[in-house]
Amino acid sequence: MIPVSRPAEPEEPVHSLQRLWRGGPAAWNAALTLPQVLIPFFLLAATAPFITQYFVDNYGWTGGEFWVRILTTCAMYACLALALNLVVGYAGLLNLGFIAFFAIGSYAYALVASDQLNHHFALLPALATVVLVSIGFALLVGVPALRLRGDYLAILTLAFGLIMRELTLDLDRPPTLFGHQFGPDGLNITGGTEGIHLVDPFRLPQWVPLVHGVGLQSRTYYWIFLGFLAVIVFTLLRWRHTRTGRAWIAIREDELAARAMGVNVFKYRLLAFGASSVAAGITGMIDAAYIHNAFPGNYDIQQTVLVFIMIILGGLGSIPGAIIGAVLVTVLPFLLQQLVLYKYVVFSLLLILVMIFRPEGLLGTVSIRPRASLGGTVELLTAEPETPPDASIPTLGESAAELEAATGAIVEPPPPEQQ
């Protein structure tokens, strides 16, 4: 055998955690999405209201119900962050009108479950309405927008968000076009700047335990958000192994190559866009039921930027990253009271600094660092070599050692500190 000069094989670190640490974000990501990590996480998260309650009762924590409200906000933003991560991190589409889909879900639910139009749908028909309306709007925006290049798509979705905003603000009276009034005089659809009040809460069946009682409002919706979060996480994890997931990753890595391999880029992008919009819409619906109203001030552009900060901080394309980012961005202003006023100053600075110094975020597998030109493919997200999709998540039976061996073998280049 001809001797080939190779970099010396790094010595196997003794401890498995040490090896995991050396594996870098791709390995951390894979480890954090293992079922044996995720299932305890969700179980622990589900008991969190009892834990805070325990501390309030026994250790004199102040706030009481307030803690559950923070948890609820965290869970809601985690849902939004994962929805946005799907469209930005997976499909590489910069959807700046994202929060409009959250608003659409809220308003759609508020319209069919309040006195505004005198409809009071039950839970499932209301959910179906929200899903259908979200899909409708996603198609309306997605079909034209997804044919455009990255930054045009960003501006078009932004324009869509602004049009939706204007509609919600102005549809408290019948629209008038060319001096012709559409609809009767008293027509008030969106409630204008007031929004829609007294939206029905979810009516859960009596057999559901632990949620019926005075003052359990926040806790109930916390579990609902958390349940929906689990659904999103599970769906995303399953999706990565399918043709769809592989297509998304292929498109994100190199659109031209994906096209050449016969991937229908438009179709898979539309699917990502639609799935993200539906997830945002359902989150909006739960939120409207939770806070009892759909208020236009909750859906401004700063909200979109906030969710962007969450996924960029956590790492584009990373599921645990998006959840961690959502929790960090939600909890930080509560912990540092002085921060409240400067919330957006700090977070926008953070966004800029992360983009410049660590664009892949905490756990990102998608790198948007500069890279050597590959001639011609300058589209959207480009990634450094990362875990191939089919090896990124081991199945339930695999041991941790096998996982690390697998990820260690494909994470490249070898850690530089091994000289």
Binding site: I163, V305, F308, L341, I352, I356, P359, R371, L380
Partner: protein, 309 residues
């Protein structure tokens, strides 16, 4: 019919006024896009900062009782100079610290940073200067008597806006198409690498581009403040997007197109708001944007390029 024509003419004039403001700001978007192929989201907020700088100068030089401490034209001139200089430097600073480190990254990275810079400027002004709209003490600076031309009324502030904007655009046009530096800018826009080979200092071109674009936006901020007598931290957002729309309508990267696009958009919006529906005036601009992007992504005056859509 006479009534209709009168209204039409009035909307047309109003449209040219707002349109010249859009054009002034659209130039910044189009210059930067032409050279860096990046969408400078923070540009609208540079316009906003310019407006606040102008308001600050007016606040210092106009006493509480509403008397200007210096001759009115001098105060207005000072507002313009301070705002243009301040906004220009701000633009250069943004480029240096937020965009330059990402210049060779892929398209998404600077776009996200730009969104961050935009939010940063807005929130700093909101927290440090004023969360509420700030009055621009323009009453002693600009006569309030409305000029009448036939049936059309024009406030002097709008006339000032229109004249200054057109003059600046003409000057910029000469600068780009008739000077050595301008041809270096055009060369850089065409092919950055080739321009480097020709001995053009691309970094300098980019700095000057940001300086010019931002200074124009600063001037836009002053003119806006003089016309509406109020500025707020949020004003750059909507106006920035409309100006970007104007740049796209004119063909992004195309300087003359941006000027024309601004005027077209202003007129379109005013006619739409006047004749179709006042409530949805803003939506017309965005519908126009969506239609242009769909049907003619190279803009009304741009040339078709395979990779532009």
């Amino acid at each position: 019919m006479e009534h209709f024509l009168g209204l039409f003419a009035q909307y047309l004039v109003n449209g040219l006024e707002t349109g010249s403001l859009y054009a002034l700001i659209a130039l910044g978007y189009t210059l930067v896009y032409g050279i860096l192929e990046m969408l400078n989201f923070a540009h609208g907020d540079v316009f906003m900062v310019g407006g606040f700088l102008g308001a600050g100068v007016a606040g210092v030089l106009v006493s509480q009782s509403g008397v200007a401490l210096l001759p009115a034209p001098l105060v207005v001139l000072l507002m313009m100079v301070v705002a243009m200089a301040g906004a220009g430097l701000l633009g250069v600073g943004i480029e240096r610290f937020a965009y330059r480190p990402l210049r060779n990254a892929n398209r998404l990275a600077p776009l996200i940073t730009a969104v961050g810079v935009s939010l940063l400027l807005e929130s700093v002004v909101q927290v440090q200067v004023s969360p509420a709209p700030v009055t621009v003490r323009s009453d002693p600076l600009i006569p309030l008597t409305v000029l009448r031309l036939g049936g059309i009324t024009v406030p002097p502030s709008s006339l000032l806006l229109f004249v200054v904007a057109i003059a600046l655009m003409a000057a910029l046009d000469r600068f780009i198409f008739a000077t050595r530096f301008g041809s270096a800018m055009r060369a850089t826009a065409q092919d950055r690498e080739a321009a480097t080979f020709m001995g053009i200092d691309v970094d300098r071109i980019i700095v000057v581009t940001f300086l010019i674009g931002s200074a124009l936006a600063g001037m836009g901020g002053v003119l806006y403040g003089l016309q509406f007598a109020t500025v707020n931290f949020f004003m750059g957002y909507l106006l920035g997007i409309k100006a970007f729309t104007a740049a796209v309508i004119g063909g992004i990267g195309n300087v003359r197109g941006a000027m024309a696009g601004g005027l077209v958009l202003g007129v379109l919006e005013n006619l739409g708001g006047g004749f179709v529906s006042t409530a949805f005036q803003d939506s017309f601009a965005f519908l126009a944007l969506i239609l242009v992007l769909m049907l003619r992504p190279q803009g009304l005056f741009g040339q078709a390029q395979a990779d532009r859509a």
